[in-house]
C-alpha cells in the first residue's frame, strides 16, 4: 500500500513540561518501496512508528497529522485512528525485541498465533510448518528446537530474528522495522534484508526501515528521510542524498561513519571517532531559527533567526532539505 504521512506533530506531557517530540513531519512511502528513516538517537523515529501504529504511550498526544493510506484519509489526532489497519495491514518490528515477545510463551506458540490471526481457518500442522520455515529463512539454526524454547533461552540476535520472522509471517501491507538488525552481524543482516525485499517483491508491501546504519540504507533503501530533534531535515532518493547531501547534518552524519578499513594506530589519541559536537536542543522550547544551528559547521547570522523552509536541492524536485544555504538569494 502507499502511505503518505502529513504534518505529524506529537507531544509528550511530563511533570517538567510538554516535550514536542515531533513537529510537522511528513513522509511518503510508495507501494513496494523501502524508505529509510535515519537520525540522531532521540530524534523521534520510533515516535513516528508508534503514531502510525496507534501505539503511542499514555502521556503522548498527537496534535496534528493525517495519514493517507491507499487514498483513504485518517486523522491521527483521533485515538485509534489506524486501529483497523493494525492486524492485517501493518506490522511492526519493535526496537526492543522483548516488546513483541511474551516471556511466558514458547516461540512456536507466538509464531503460530500470528498465522492463526492471519488465516483463522488454517490447519495447525500447516501453521507449525510455516513457522519453522520462517525461522529457517531468518537463518535461525535448528528451527524445530527453537519452536519449543522460551524467549530468554535465545541469544539477543536470535530473539531479534524471531520477531522479524513474526513480522514476515503476518504479510503486512506496510512493514515498519525499527532497528531490526542491531544485534546481528552483517552476513545475517544481509540475509534478513534479502527476505524483507523478497516479501516486498512478492506482495508489494511498503517498508519503513528505521535504522542508524547508513550502510544499510544506502545498500537497500530506495529513498531516505533524515530526522533531527523532531523535524525532518532532508528527504530524497538514496542516490541523490548520497551524491549531494542537501543538509549539513546529513553530510556530517555520513562523515561520522566508521569505515571498515580504518586501521588502529599505536598512539591511542589517533583512534578518535568523528562526532557532531554540541547537544540536541531542549524539546520543550524550540529555539528560533534553524533547529540545527549551534552544531552546524557552516551556519551564518540568519540561521539564528530565520526558520528555513523546505527547499529543493539542486534541480531535483524530489530532493529537499531545510537549510538556509539552499534558499536562492
Amino acid at each position: 500500500m502507499a502511505i503518505s504521512l502529513r504534518n505529524l506533530s506529537v507531544d509528550y506531557s511530563l511533570p517538567q513540561g510538554t516535550a514536542h517530540a515531533l513537529r510537522g513531519v511528513s513522509l511518503d512511502i510508495e507501494k513496494g518501496e523501502l524508505l529509510g528513516l535515519v537520525g540522531e538517537s532521540g530524534s523521534g523515529k520510533s515516535t513516528v512508528a508508534f503514531a502510525l501504529m496507534g501505539l503511542l504511550a499514555n502521556n503522548a498526544k498527537v496534535t496534528s497529522g493525517t495519514a493517507t493510506i491507499d487514498g483513504k484519509s485518517f486523522d491521527l489526532t483521533k485515538r485509534n485512528a489506524t486501529a483497523a489497519l493494525r492486524g492485517r495491514g501493518m506490522a511492526m518490528i519493535f526496537q526492543d525485541p522483548m516488546m513483541s515477545l511474551n516471556p511466558v510463551f514458547t516461540i512456536g506458540t507466538q509464531l503460530c498465533e500470528v498465522l492463526r490471526r492471519r488465516s483463522p481457518g488454517s490447519d495447525r500442522k500447516a501453521r507449525v510448518g510455516m513457522a519453522e520455515d520462517a525461522l529457517d529463512k531468518v537463518k535461525l539454526s535448528n528451527p524445530r528446537r527453537r519452536m519449543n524454547q522460551y524467549p530468554h533461552e535465545l541469544s539477543g540476535g536470535m530473539r531479534q530474528r524471531v520477531v522479524i520472522a513474526m513480522a514476515l509471517l503476518s504479510e503486512p501491507a506496510l512493514l515498519i522495522a525499527d532497528e531490526p538488525t542491531t544485534a546481528l552481524d552483517v552476513t545475517v543482516e544481509a540475509q534478513i534484508m534479502r527476505e524483507i525485499i523478497g516479501l516486498r517483491d512478492r506482495i508489494g508491501c511498503a517498508v519503513l526501515l528505521i535504522t542508524h546504519s547508513l550502510g544499510l540504507v544506502t545498500e537497500y533503501c530506495d529513498r531516505l528521510s533524515v530526522l533531527y530533534a523532531g523535524e525532518r531535515l532532508e528527504s530524497g532518493t538514496v542516490r541523490q542524498v548520497q551524491r549531494q547531501p542537501g543538509h549539513p547534518y546529513t553530510r556530517m552524519l555520513f562523515d561520522c561513519e566508521v569505515p571498515i578499513d580504518r586501521e588502529r594506530q599505536a598512539d591511542a589519541s589517533e583512534n578518535r571517532f568523528t562526532v557532531i559536537s554540541g547537544d540536541l536542543p531542549d524539546p520543550r522550547r524550540r529555539p528560533p531559527g534553524c533547529i540545527f544551528n549551534g552544531r552546524c559547521d557552516v551556519s551564518f547570522d540568519d540561521c539564528a533567526v530565520i526558520n528555513p523552509g523546505d527547499y529543493p536541492v539542486g534541480n531535483e524536485a524530489e530532493h529537499r532539505a531545510r537549510c538556509l544555504r539552499l534558499a536562492t538569494p
Binding site: 499514555n58 502521556n59 511474551n102 516471556p103 511466558v104 530468554h152
Partner: protein, 280 residues
C-alpha cells in the same frame, strides 16, 4: 496519580467497565452512607414487625421490627470490610511468599509449592468446617480461614511472574550492582508483580463476599445480633412467608456488589494486563 486517572479513564471507555464502576460506587455509597442516615440496626420494635418499605423504614423491618435499611447497609459495610481485609492480607502475604519462592528456586520453591497444593486440595467449605471446629465460630476465624485459602492463588501468580522477571536483564543488572536483596524485592519485583496481583485481587473480592455470605447463611460466619448479607438472607428466608422483602433486598445488594466487583475486575484486567486478554 496520573496513572490512576488514566486507568479510570480507560476503564470508563467501555460499557462493562462503566457499569462495574457504577455498581461498585453505588454499593460503596450504600455501605458508607446507609448507616449514617438510618436508625440503630439493633433497636427492636415489636410493634413494627415485618413493616413494608416506607418513610420510617426505607427498606421495611424484619421479624423483630429492626430497621432493614440499617441492617442491610451495616451488613454490606461489614461484608466489604471483611472482603477487602482478607484480599489485602492474602495478596500481600501471597505475593511475598511467591516472589521469594520464585527467586530462590530449589527446595524452597518445591516446599512452598507443595504447601500451596495441600491447601488447595481441600474444598474451601470443608476446610472452613475444620477450622471452625478448631477455633470456633466468629469473624476472626473467618478472616483467618479465607486468608489462608486465598494465599496460594496469589502466591502462584507472584511466583510465576518472579520466575520470568528473574531471567530479565534489569534484575540481573540490579544484582550486579550488589543492591540489597530486600531492596530488589520491594523496589523491582513487587511493582512488576503488582499489576496482575491487583487484578486477581479485585476479581477475588466478589468471591470472598459470596463466600462470607454462604458461610453466614449456614450459620458459621457472623454471629447475631451482628448482621451480614448472609445472615440477612438467611433470616429473611426463614420468615419468607410473612415478608419477602428482607431476602430480596439483601440478595439484591449481594448481587449488585458481586456483579460490580466482577465487572470492574475484568475491566481492570483488560487495562493493566492487555496481553492476557488477547489484545496485541
Amino acid at each position: 496519580m496520573s496513572g490512576l486517572v488514566a486507568t479510570l479513564k480507560r476503564i470508563c471507555s467501555e460499557r462493562d467497565g462503566r457499569l462495574g464502576l457504577a455498581f461498585t460506587c453505588l454499593i460503596l455509597v450504600f455501605a458508607l452512607v446507609g448507616p449514617l442516615v438510618s436508625p440503630d440496626p439493633n433497636a427492636i420494635d415489636i410493634k413494627a414487625r415485618f413493616a413494608p418499605p416506607g418513610v420510617m423504614h426505607l427498606l421495611g423491618t424484619d421479624n423483630l421490627g429492626r430497621d432493614l435499611m440499617a441492617r442491610t447497609s451495616v451488613g454490606t459495610r461489614y461484608a466489604l470490610t471483611l472482603a477487602v481485609m482478607i484480599v489485602v492480607i492474602s495478596s500481600v502475604i501471597g505475593s511475598l511468599i511467591g516472589i521469594v519462592a520464585g527467586i530462590a528456586g530449589g527446595w524452597v520453591d518445591r516446599a512452598v509449592t507443595a504447601v500451596f497444593d495441600i491447601v488447595n486440595a481441600f474444598p474451601p467449605l470443608i476446610l472452613a468446617f475444620a477450622l471452625i471446629a478448631l477455633y470456633g465460630k466468629g469473624s476472626a476465624t473467618f478472616v483467618l480461614l479465607v486468608t489462608v485459602v486465598f494465599i496460594p492463588q496469589f502466591g502462584r501468580m507472584a511466583r510465576a511472574r518472579a520466575q520470568t522477571l528473574r531471567t530479565l536483564s534489569f534484575i540481573e543488572a540490579e544484582r550486579m550492582l550488589a543492591v540489597h536483596p530486600v531492596t530488589i524485592v520491594v523496589r523491582h519485583y513487587l511493582p512488576n508483580v503488582a499489576g496482575p496481583i491487583i487484578v486477581l485481587a479485585s476479581m477475588n473480592l466478589p468471591v470472598v463476599i459470596a463466600f462470607e455470605a454462604s458461610l453466614s447463611f449456614l450459620g458459621f460466619g457472623v454471629q447475631p445480633p451482628k448482621s451480614s448479607l448472609g445472615t440477612l438472607i438467611k433470616d429473611g428466608f426463614i420468615s419468607i412467608n410473612q415478608s419477602w422483602w428482607p431476602t430480596v433486598a439483601a440478595a439484591l445488594v449481594l448481587a449488585i456488589a458481586t456483579l460490580g466487583a466482577t465487572l470492574l475486575g475484568e475491566a481492570l484486567r483488560r487495562v493493566i494486563d492487555p496481553k492476557s486478554a488477547g489484545v496485541r
